[in-house]
Subunit: 374 residues, 4 copies
């Protein structure tokens, strides 16, 4: 399969570069009959786009999406949907220096070797975090279908920034959903959010950066998604999530902590919910996944983002043409912390992967019918 | 792509069930000209097979591999290689009970729903950890090619069992490689290994189980493997690693810990090694991967295994036919901790994924030539 | 995708060699709940196997299929189904000569170059027509599902042997179905069949061989299978059909003849069938496919088989080691004409491709329910 | 794999509709370092575009290609290349009528059923022959790489229009190459070309259409491309060629005629070319392919195009909303014969498929070096 694709039955193909003409996505496999226009996609893009607050990069991109194909008279046709954003504020001057002096923590050095010096290095080119907007464009389509036709909701939010951690164990899904976008850092706890923002501003002032952790949970996931072994839903989700630049760790349910527990502690006990007669588990250490298959409980995923590699402090590096060590002072406009812009990206990846598997399980018909309450 | 495949240019297709006639693997894409017989595969299988020590399950399987196709007069032909192990000690009597009473922590419940009651539930059937032997068969072929033709070595070892953690930061690759198989738990530190074994035996006696962490590192990985975004080498490796039953977390380099660091701490500084003139990094928080592409430093991966779901203690569950809650006492022969058997599996997954990408990067010729020192 | 696979949602992976230990197939994507044992597969294999009559090779292979995985208590489980045939009558003595003197019309020469001399050349190894049995094993499963759950019937038969052509235009589907296996050449017209057989026996006596044409038609194909452009149902079927060794041409509907007609002659006029109210076409020059999508009319495919390359007559060739021209007299047991053994193979390919697309169109549920009349 | 993709290592993804905003292609897998701008692609598009002569449709589309991504400072970067053509002359008025009255020979009817009435029916939408321009954009890139780095040339030309057939057996490759574009019908024989054009004009005047046959041959194809069975080079090429709307037959070498020959006639005898020492065959009935693998001889492919379904004559059809039979008089601007515009499309498909396999065989490095003589 070509390298720039995620998904099989519902898939996205990403193209474009940070400082090129545009960035874009081809959505393939979207069923015919979905009501779709740009307003279904723009809000999620807006939640990711730069320049939203003082803690994000000041690059001015409106990230206006245009639908170029696959929609006719307001409805999807079953043909591939091309979604595009024209780059408007690409200031490439500051990147000439990095051509031969790879920035620590960035893709510059391996990209130079891999592409023999031909890679577009401006603003990290193809490796830029800006490309996550191509994931969000496709994700918005997937999330609309999941929500409208299967009542599946996926929400991500900031659980940690640097050393500030938000305990989300006792916050309900609805509260998480309502509060996560109520502050700049996208954390469902307001007081913690204030501390997080302070720490980001401190790091920014120091020319430094911070990382953090995004947590993702869901509502309405049907049991049975995923396949044993190579298409375990963990395999599929992690493949997508590690596509996000800066992600260096993914865990499901009790994850790394769970590895230190005993089986009798970590196993989730089945019980029958009185009111509904449904079979549920008392705890959710499995993160909603047993044997690689969803079990009907909410997914619980934690995703570790490294601190942004772009910092303004002087760093040592190597001039690869001259073969000497040198000091590097990276200019340009950076995010001191990318985590607050990541929830729409994580939502998108999880949505695309889950929709792909819902289609494989026949849960989505080849032609969608308009529902009464839209 | 069909669900039971890992890899594109070098791939394995897994088949079989824990208590069926056999388990097997099709290796597709192995170049012609590789000297190969069963003795290239059996040693890695032996390191994974049950019944090796007092801390593994007592199921007696010799796991003898047979090559059924793709090898002619001692060399691979370029045709698919079918590798098979006949099951010999499958005692299925103890599994009748679980048909309708799903075991906590196991795939039983979602498998029942997904396959409408038709899944082979004996010994977890297709979901059994036994299926990791099919990964090892393919992995042994990949690891031989990587080692012999590219001098790439991949080693995994136990870094934690329950709460016992081995600090491996200051152990050299060669020492890790030499010591890891010198004890039953596969930990490169003998004293720590003794404590780990004790804890496993305690858990076993209690009818309980433990989890742990496998660490994987490498030698000789060329820079440039992986593709931006969806085929980042982290995406590819994590997809493979989450195929292993019981794996619930994967991190690269500084991983989750790195998310709490500052950029100035986490960025790895480039320098030029005096003796070789090579460009290296002072630290390896990236785990050998920048922008999803290998940078020539060793890979560093940590994989969290949950405690084995099979425990002998009584557990609550639900009888899904009768719709009532019930007590379950699982019989059968279990591993109190699967981690000690996991290193060959992790080596195999990492080897298969890396070889696939080496082939994509033209590092392996379509026909292999015999080397002088074999 | 690995090279030895056909299909995506329902797929087969072929392995084995003509004179190796076995030949086999992995069926992936078969829904759980299908009643399946060897007796569902053996009859179709018997119609393909060698030694059925005086006009086929005298190699004695009973081609007994064994199910090694994926079936539990008589029903498919959703796991991959491994089907295997052990080779029993492989006489490899006669093939030593061809190692360095490639047979005209065979794969020997390009296989030698492609695999650097490592290919298994015995009986054409991986390139042997014997491998079509691996397609038939998977095809039998597909055909059972199509017939039982969608009432789709696929039939192939011999339309031409050498210069003897059977006009099948006015023979009904039921008559074609009933008569095609009533004679050794698999032609639905008895008198034509007699002439065909005579010509094959004449060719055989002369140490020569004949080719021919297989026609395939169907009943019950639903409209809407296939995708525009790259997954046109013609693309998908032709990819599968050209996998059969000896096939050198494929046409749909009026095919090559149609290219000499005018649009007004070739267009199929739509009308409404009085009795059923169904929309049908008066003619079927499209072969049941418009725009790459099935239109509900029967498929009509013609497949050209070249004369078998194996002939006993002396032929000129080249000794590739010595670099000199030489005479070659191929011994061994050959089919003077492979066409009579091809109908089960064509049925199988068409069945696999159509089932794959029926699954993509949600026409087959993930779990099959047993039907009353089996 | 998503449906709108051709190729694996070098691939194209097609998007857009005949009367939508644009049509486009994503080229994935193009190695870094190829000198590329629009002038490498435009000439091949010009040979396909409408309005070139009196025998093509009078729709005025300049088909100007724009490169939107994947090229930096004149060279490919290894990132996906987005190529786009903005539609400028889409007159959709005449298509309202066909919404409910499917045109005979067109995709209208199955598209209506498949997409539940949501398909863009204007100018056949996604099924339009106009989409072949998306294949040509990708093909131009492939053909440049093949020609420049491997000296592979692929040429297609008109061999038949209706009943007028050009015998090309004794025309050399260079002459075919030189003469094929010297006339409007793209036939290498001038006198035959005049007759062909006359017949097209007669058909046009009658409101009718003609079909024909494109022949494709090559120079410089290396031996060893393709894989046994499912990735036979015939399988791969036919899959691509049947993606072209109107193609209903494909044959290689002696094809359908060959099926009536004897083995002793059809087998191609190997000999050693005195001047070069190369192993060649006296005849080329195999069309350069043995066992599904290229043997170093020129490819020879014949592709049957049905007469264009769009004719101006009155035709009977059915109103699918009202469920009654009706007369249809299709307006709009049509090609009376699409064959003269097909050679660049066939060249493109063959080029894309062959380059994909050359990459799989390591014949193209991951980074291209600029050659001296360009």
């Amino acid at each position: 399969m070509p390298a720039n694709i995620l998904g099989e039955r519902f898939s996205i193909t990403s193209f474009g570069e940070s400082h090129g003409k545009c960035i874009g996505t081809i959505v393939d496999g979207c069923p015919a009959g979905l009501k779709l226009d740009e307003s279904d996609i723009q809000p999620l893009l807006n939640l990711r786009r730069p320049g939203q607050s003082v803690i994000t990069t000041q690059r001015k991109e409106t990230d206006q999406v245009s639908i170029l194909s696959g929609v006719f008279r307001g409805y999807t046709t079953g043909a591939p949907i091309c979604l595009i954003i024209w780059n408007t504020d690409s200031d490439s001057r500051s990147y000439d220096e990095i051509k031969n002096t790879p920035r620590p923590g960035h893709s510059d050095y391996p990209a130079y070797l891999k592409y023999g010096g031909f890679a577009d290095y401006r603003g990290s080119g193809r490796f830029s975090g800006r490309l996550t907007a191509t994931l969000v464009m496709g994700g918005a389509v997937a999330l609309k279908i999941l929500s409208k036709y299967l009542n599946i909701e996926i929400i991500s939010y900031t659980q940690a920034i640097g050393n500030i951690i938000c305990n989300t164990d006792n916050i309900s899904f609805d509260e998480l959903s309502r509060k996560r976008y109520s502050n700049d850092v996208r954390c469902p706890d307001h007081e913690i959010a204030i501390k997080m923002k302070e720490d980001i501003l401190v790091a920014r002032k120091a020319g430094d950066s911070l990382g953090g952790i995004i947590e993702c949970t869901t509502k309405g996931i049907p049991p049975g998604l995923g396949e044993p072994i190579f298409e375990s839903i963990e395999s599929e989700l992690s493949k997508g999530l590690f596509s996000i630049p800066a992600v260096k760790g993914v865990e499901f349910g009790s994850g790394f902590i769970g590895s230190s527990l005993k089986g009798s502690q970590n196993n989730d006990i089945f019980y029958i919910e009185k009111s509904s007669g449904k079979i549920l588990t008392l705890t959710n250490n499995s993160g909603g996944i047993l044997g690689g298959i969803t079990n009907g409980m909410p997914l619980k995923i934690r995703i570790a983002f490294k601190p942004a590699a772009s910092i303004s402090m002087s760093q040592k590096t190597v001039n690869i043409e001259k073969g000497v060590e040198t000091d590097l002072h990276v200019k340009g406009r950076h995010d001191p912390c990318v985590v607050p812009r990541a929830p729409p990206v994580v939502d998108s990846i999880v949505g695309i992967v889950l929709l792909d598997h819902c289609i494989k399980c026949n849960l989505i018909p080849p032609v969608l019918k308009e529902l009464h309450s839209n």
